[in-house]
């Protein structure tokens, strides 16, 4: 009798706890697809044929999912000017402190940019390809990154998510393939 009650109690308690984590898990993949990256500001000034810019992005999680953090922010961009692509791609890797992407929380990433080459800065269009490495509950088994494309002429804009990559690591020997939306 006591044992039956003990079993029932453990079952009810563990089911209650599991229901919360399962409900959270059910929003995980939706959250990966809905992480919103915005180009908050792109202030640049030209000095002759050189340019300096301060670029700020924000990343936020519009879903109710808890458990994603940003590990690494890797912006890569080219600049189109005067109707042609005149710059070489610039790759940066900004190591952030692990920033939790809890619901409603916004993570801000800012970085400066100095052009080291001469070019025309008329009718400029910045084209960013940004890869964000995420930390999730799957860290021990898989690494997850998401890639965004942002185009801006100097004003704030919303970035478009172009891929989510999930790759097996460590003990997972299932082929190491990737998944995308």
């Amino acid at each position: 009798m006591t044992l039956a009650i003990a079993l029932a109690l453990v079952t009810v308690t563990s089911s209650g706890v599991a229901a919360v984590s399962t409900a959270n898990y059910f929003q995980f993949y939706t959250a990966l697809g809905q992480l919103q990256l915005n180009l908050k500001s792109l202030a640049y000034k030209t000095v002759g044929n050189l340019a300096e810019a301060n670029i700020t992005f924000t990343l936020d999680n519009p879903t109710e999912y808890r458990g994603i953090s940003m590990l690494l922010f890797e912006p890569n961009f080219v600049v189109n000017a005067s109707g042609e692509t005149v710059t070489r791609p610039l790759g940066l890797s900004i190591v952030q402190e692990i920033s939790k992407l809890d619901p409603g929380k916004m993570v801000r990433v800012a970085f400066p940019f100095n052009s080291t080459w001469n070019q025309s800065w008329q009718n400029v269009q910045f084209i960013f390809t940004i890869t964000i490495n995420l930390s999730t509950f799957l860290d021990q088994a898989a690494s997850i990154s998401t890639t965004y494309l942002c185009v801006s002429g100097g004003s704030p804009s919303t970035c478009e998510q172009v891929a989510v990559r999930i790759q097996g690591t460590g003990g997972f020997h299932g082929g190491g393939g990737g998944g995308g939306f």
Binding site: L3, S21, L138, G179
Partner: protein, 147 residues
């Protein structure tokens, strides 16, 4: 409700049949808690499942029944785990992404369950059945409406 409980209490077979999905469901619930947060179980998760197997084995009161119950409960638990962990991936990701996550989850679930934990739980169920056979009198009684 009282009628249902009374019927279960009188029917030993029905009680044992109901015990197996309860056993499997509770193992799955504990593993869900670890899978969706870590994803590998911690010592505490293993300890809870060990205790569950000990209790469920004792309630079976018979080695053969406990063995059959354990295998069925583990099959139920693993089926629930694979099913529930794969469903959201297929609904939110591309078919390739869904298949990849399903494979990943299957690997994690099997790594969390086999072989040492599985053998340990099996031993716990057997010990529970031996203790239940020796120290629990009569068929297991779920009737808490009568003392």
């Amino acid at each position: 409700m009282e009628k249902v409980v009374g019927r279960i209490a009188k029917n030993e077979k029905l009680g044992e049949i109901l015990l197996v999905p309860l056993w499997g469901g509770s193992i799955a619930a504990v593993l869900f808690n670890s899978l969706f947060q870590n994803p590998y179980p911690t010592f505490l998760h293993y300890l809870i499942i060990f205790s569950l197997c000990l209790i469920a084995g004792a309630l079976m009161q018979d080695i053969a029944k406990a063995l059959l119950g354990f295998f069925t409960a583990m099959a139920v638990a693993i089926a629930i785990l694979i099913g529930v962990s794969s469903v959201p991936a297929f609904s939110a990701l591309s078919p390739e992404g869904g298949t990849f996550i399903e494979s990943l989850m299957i690997v994690i679930i099997f790594q969390s369950t086999f072989p040492i934990p599985f053998i340990t739980y099996l031993v716990a169920s057997m010990i529970g059945a031996l203790l239940g056979d020796r120290y629990l009198e009569g068929s297991f009684n779920l009737d808490w409406t009568r003392s």
